[in-house]
Symmetry: C2
């Protein structure tokens, strides 16, 4: 049976929005869209400092006028001095504007407690996903037999799994432990690797930290185990760290793989191959639409580095405004700067919002029969589990949908709430989840939880 995929959800959501515009009567006035971690879509305001500098770079008359704070204007002016011909409309070097790449490297060193970072190992790209694909291209040999394997978590960011398959590779899932708050357990990595025997040739291990959609933040101990495992099994490491600014748990702290690896010292710190990814799309900035990300490469063979340079150079360069966005993300205003108070207020506001939301999600969902939700320690999503009644599963089957998609379709139709079915995050038979963005204004989150609660209670009654 060919099952419907979740594009039906997006299509239906667009229809419903249109119907609402045409004043069709519905039990709600607006669709709440928490499908992706696209915080501006979810109602979060962009950071003023970021937008002001970008606007001034685009339209340098603003540098001269006094509409904008003086540090904004200075920053824009000095950035323009780093662009060829003084324009954000010029191509840049393949890896990005050298001065920006340099400052990103300094940011990494500082973030990582002094672990050295070399600008030569950093590439800026139109989104971090784009970098990840280029690195995967080098790792996955599309002609190999047996095929190249990539260990990926379940649940996973779906585009990564799709990319691996598109390149001719095989995904080898390792399951995060839901009961332990989605912890990554090294025994499970061993199991996954064993399961690949005879089926494919695993060469790399992809980790997402903080997790998407599983809001787990890895501890130093876990990361050390992962690094030792990678070293022992001769796997390279791909660390997707785009949510590094999003840590909500009081006891959680983000540590980068680069840092932990470096602090483990030789021989590991000199040998384990690592690519780590960061992005302007997530965190406080949430500038998905600008498409800016970067990768830092550690311990790669010089020949492989040459190959990576060539791959990146086929697209000339990343958009200059995304490069600038990354510069602003990694070098924000400092105390004493005219823009600092507003910047600090805005980021603090988002932090408070996230902490509030994850707390409320945990409380409300765990109070509903048929839902169980792990604490969301980090990242942009909640990924609660649904315990669906057999009648609902039967009904979904009749509709040619997976049960979680069926649930999400109903939720959209009846309550105007758009979330993602867990099935999109990779297959794990027998369990059902939904995923939704938690970076949204508090009142939107409350409204969503209230709609979800009423809908869910009725749904469970209808199919009991």
């Amino acid at each position: 049976m060919k099952k419907l995929d979740s594009t039906v959800l997006a299509r239906r959501a667009n229809q419903i929005k249109e119907e609402l515009r045409q004043k069709l009567r519905k039990p709600y006035k607006q669709v709440i869209d928490l499908y992706s971690a696209d915080t501006h879509t979810a109602g979060v305001k962009p950071l003023s400092f970021v937008r002001q500098v970008l606007a001034a770079c685009l339209y340098p008359d603003l540098v001269k006028s006094n509409t904008l704070p003086v540090d904004v204007r200075q920053r824009a002016q000095s950035l323009l001095g780093e662009c060829a011909g003084g324009s954000v409309g010029s191509y840049t070097a393949t890896a990005g504007i050298p001065e920006i790449v340099h400052r990103i490297s300094e940011f990494i060193t500082k973030r990582d407690g002094g672990a050295p970072s070399d600008p030569e190992n950093i590439y800026i790209s139109p989104g971090s996903q784009w970098s990840l694909r280029n690195i995967l291209k080098v790792l996955v040999n599309s002609q190999a037999s047996p095929r190249t394997g990539v260990l990926t978590p379940w649940p996973c960011y779906p585009i990564t799994n799709f990319t691996i398959k598109e390149l001719g590779g095989v995904t080898v899932p390792y399951y995060l432990s839901e009961e332990q708050g989605w912890e990554l357990q090294v025994e499970e990595l061993h199991r996954a690797l064993d399961s690949a025997k005879g089926l494919c040739n695993p060469v790399t291990l992809y980790v997402i930290n903080p997790g998407n959609p599983a809001g787990y933040v890895q501890s130093r101990k876990t990361m050390q185990e992962v690094i030792r495992f990678a070293s022992e099994k001769r796997l390279s490491l791909l660390a997707d760290e785009v949510y590094q600014e999003c840590v909500h748990g009081e006891k959680s702290e983000f540590l980068s793989y680069k840092r932990v690896l470096s602090e483990m010292g030789p021989p590991l710190s000199d040998t384990v191959e690592l690519a780590s990814f960061h992005s302007a799309s997530k965190g406080f900035m949430g500038e998905c639409g600008l498409r800016g990300g970067y990768v830092e490469l550690v311990n790669l063979d010089p020949d492989v580095m040459k190959c990576i340079y060539k791959l990146f150079s086929t697209d000339s360069c990343a958009p200059v405004l995304s490069q600038i966005a990354l510069d602003l993300m990694t070098n924000p205003p400092q105390p004493g700067d005219p823009s600092y108070p507003l910047y600090s207020e805005e980021t603090q506001h988002i932090k408070t919002m996230m902490v509030h939301n994850v707390k409320r999600v945990f409380e409300v969902l765990n109070s509903l029969p048929g839902f169980s939700c792990q604490p969301v320690e980090g990242g942009g999503f909640a990924f609660p589990r649904l315990h669906l009644p057999p009648k609902a599963i039967q009904k979904a089957k009749e509709m040619e949908m997976k049960p979680d998609l069926f649930y999400c379709m109903r939720l959209l139709e009846e309550a105007g709430v758009l979330v993602q079915p867990g099935m999109e995050n990779g297959p794990k038979e027998g369990t059902h989840h939904i995923r939704f963005c938690i970076i949204t204004p508090e009142d939107t989150m409350e409204e969503m939880l209230s709609r979800l609660s009423s809908f869910h209670t009725q749904f469970m009654k209808d199919f009991s």
Copy 2:
């Protein structure tokens, strides 16, 4: 012998710029950089209207203030209404914001004298080169034996040739006729196709019109012949039309392949598969750094279209500001709009500059012994031929450089002029060329021609 490639040029140019900053004495005060068709680097000013709308979209406070013309503010406001959450920081649909894609489609229909265009067939991407690579990915089967062939012109835009090889394909060069002003001759296509027999399996034909670096603008008759050839030989057509705004010859006119194909009527117009590319990087806008391009697909199989959708979707979407730039390029201010007079003055200024420059280049270079230059009818480059003395060729050999690279290195070192050696545009043994951008202010062009003339005269003397 491993020859040096032209990255040595870029590196040396950067060193020289640094040396000039450190006040080292040189026979020139500044490097004139006409290496790529990056008009802002070459000193052309961005269009005010474009920058104003983009700035207002980024920083919507500008929509409310009265620093900007009213049509700019209206345009920004209506564009923001088309972005999810009213922010350019949100992801969009894979192909782009639907309303923008729709307007691009209307632009195409109007440009092509009514030939219908379907928005469903248009994809926006971060640069046109990126679209081209995705389409090539679908066409080139990396595992095929014999390998997939792509007919590409000589001289060619080098990144295209590189991309084809990277994807596992083979380039099959067809030579444009330099003596006939770089005309594309269909007999040559036949010869090229024959030359591929037994070596590879050609599936598609790549044309650049107006040409880069060869400034030829194809006539309707040529295009009809190319289309018939493609149909007869069952090749699809890839039409790189990024220079469509750059037509300098009085008798030349840009016609799109889409238009000519459509006007040829059935069965050709219903069967020949065509992908045509356009970009915000070139033309009057010259916004390379924004990375915005699009492809329109015609007569493709629905299954192939699905595959293309999937490929584009792995990068989420093109940067929203690039999408907006394309909207502004295809829907500029109209007579009566407050921004029209300035817009019209600025574009007219660039037009006049291009016409002046190609005329001067033609006059000056053809007056120098050892140079011959075809008229530049369109595009962003001159591609004059160098007739180098045997002693210069010998000297180049000793230096482990191709003769044209050797010439360019000397030109850079001695005259501070950065241009591209012809060898980068594909191999054609025995002829030597240089390529330089002609979209630059008149005084820069004059200064460059004057430096080039003195240098060249001395060079020919030194090696006579």
